[in-house]
Symmetry: C2
Subunit: 240 residues, 2 copies
Amino acid sequence: MQATECLLRKLQISRSLDADDIKAIERLPVIVRDAGPRSSIVREGERPVQCCLLVEGFACRSKTTDAGKRQILSIHIAGEIPDLQSLHLEVMDHDLTTLSRSTVGFISHDALRVLTRERPIVAEALWRETLIDAAMFREWIVNVGRRSAVVRLAHLLSEIATRLRRKGLAAEDRFELPMTQLDIADALGLTPVHINRVVQELRRAGLLELRKHSVFLPDLPRLRELGDFDDLYLHQSATG
Amino acid sequence: MQATECLLRKLQISRSLDADDIKAIERLPVIVRDAGPRSSIVREGERPVQCCLLVEGFACRSKTTDAGKRQILSIHIAGEIPDLQSLHLEVMDHDLTTLSRSTVGFISHDALRVLTRERPIVAEALWRETLIDAAMFREWIVNVGRRSAVVRLAHLLSEIATRLRRKGLAAEDRFELPMTQLDIADALGLTPVHINRVVQELRRAGLLELRKHSVFLPDLPRLRELGDFDDLYLHQSATG
DNA sequence: CGTCGGGTTGAGGGTGATCAAAGTTTGTGG
DNA sequence: CCACAAACTTTGATCACCCTCAACCCGACG
C-alpha cells in the first residue's frame, strides 16, 4: 500500500480519479525491493514483463552509441515509473539504471493491463504520464541541441529543482542530487572536464553551490533565466 | 473514409484490431484540409481541441529557444498523428508545422475520447503510437548529444529512409524530402553552413546524392553503419 | 530581368574536446 | 584508526570541430 501511495499522489495531481479507481490502484500487486546505487534495472534489448515504480531514490535512462559514448535521456525521482512505456513497447530501446541506492516496486504488465482495460480513466492518467515523459524528452533535445554548456547546466538544475519541489521531496533551492560530474556530462552531451569548468562558472556567478552530492541554488530566478527555463513542458500547471 | 485509411494501416501493423474497432475508426469524423508548405498547424501555447492526421506530405515539430534558435524535434510522414499528445496534454509545448504542401485531417478530441473510452484496444494502439514517438525522441537526443555532424546526418537520412519504406511511401534508397539544408541544420543542432559541408562529405563518400529535394542513397548499408543506425527504437519488427 | 530563397565557398575564431597529471574525497581492509 | 586504493574533481596545455561572418552563385519565379 505504501508503494502505490506515491504513485497515487502523482496521478491525482492532474486527474480526478474516483474512489474505485483509487482502490484498484491500491490493490495493484507491487513487489518492493531495494536496489544498490548504480545498479541496472532493465537493459536495452530486454523484454520486461513488469514496470518499475521508483519508490525512493534516483534513477536515469540512457543509451550508449556504437562509439561507446553514453547519453543520459532523463532523470527520475520518487513516484515515477521510468519504464512505463514497456507496457506497450515489447523491447527496451535503452537502459534504466539507479543513480542512488533506491527502493523500487515492480508491477507486472498483466496487472497493469487488467487495470487499464477495466478503468479507462486510470489508463488515461498513465498514458498522460508517458506523454509528459515525451514532453521532457523534447525539451532535452533542445537543451543538448541548441544551448551552450552553461545554459544547459542551468536548465538541468532548474528542471530537477522544480520537479523535486512539485513532488514535495525537497526545498526548491536545496536538495541532494546523486549524480557525479560525469553523469551530468552524459546528461548534457558534454565531457566531464568541461562540466567541471562550467560548474565553477556557475559557482563564481553565485548561482550554484555543489559539494559532493548536495546542491544549493542561491538565486533560482536568475538560474532559471540563465537556463532558458520555462516549466510549461512539465505540464503541471493548475489550469492545465 | 480515405483519410482514416492511412491511420488504420498504421495501427494495424502492430495491433490486431477487430472488425468493430476498425469500423469505429472508420466512422471517426475527419475534416480534411489542404495546407500550404511551411504553414503552421498548431503553435506552442495553444490549447488545441483536435488532433491532426497527416494524410499526405511532411511535417515537423519544433521548439525555439529564448535566443531565437530553432530545434526540430521530429519529422512526420503520411499516416502519422504528430500532435496526438494534445489529447491528454492541454497546452502545446512546441510548434507543429508542415514542410511540404500537405493534406491534413482534423479529428476532434471529443470524438477520440469517446472512441478510446469505449474501445480499450484502440486506445492502446494509439497510446503505443505516442510511445514510439517518445522512443524516437530518445534516439534524437542521442543523435544531437553524442554524435559528430556526419554521423548525425547519416543517421537522420537512414531513419527517414527506413520509415518511408515501412509505410510503403517510397523506395528505401530514393525519395523526396522537402527539407532545406537549414531545416536539416535545425534538426541536427548544427548550422546550415556546416550542414552544407557535411552533405558534400557524404556526396564525396558516395553515400548521398541530394538535388533540390530529391534524395538518393547509393549505399544504404554503409550509410546506416556510418550513421550508427539500428532500427530497434522504431519498434516495428515483426516479433515485437 | 531583377529579386529572393537557398546553396556554396572561404577565412578566422571560439566553444568544448582531448590528453595528461595532480589533488581530493570516499570507501575498504588491515 | 590508519593505510591504501579507487573514484571523482580539478587544473593546464593543446587541438579540432563546428560557428560566425561575409561574399558569391544559382535556379525559380515574378
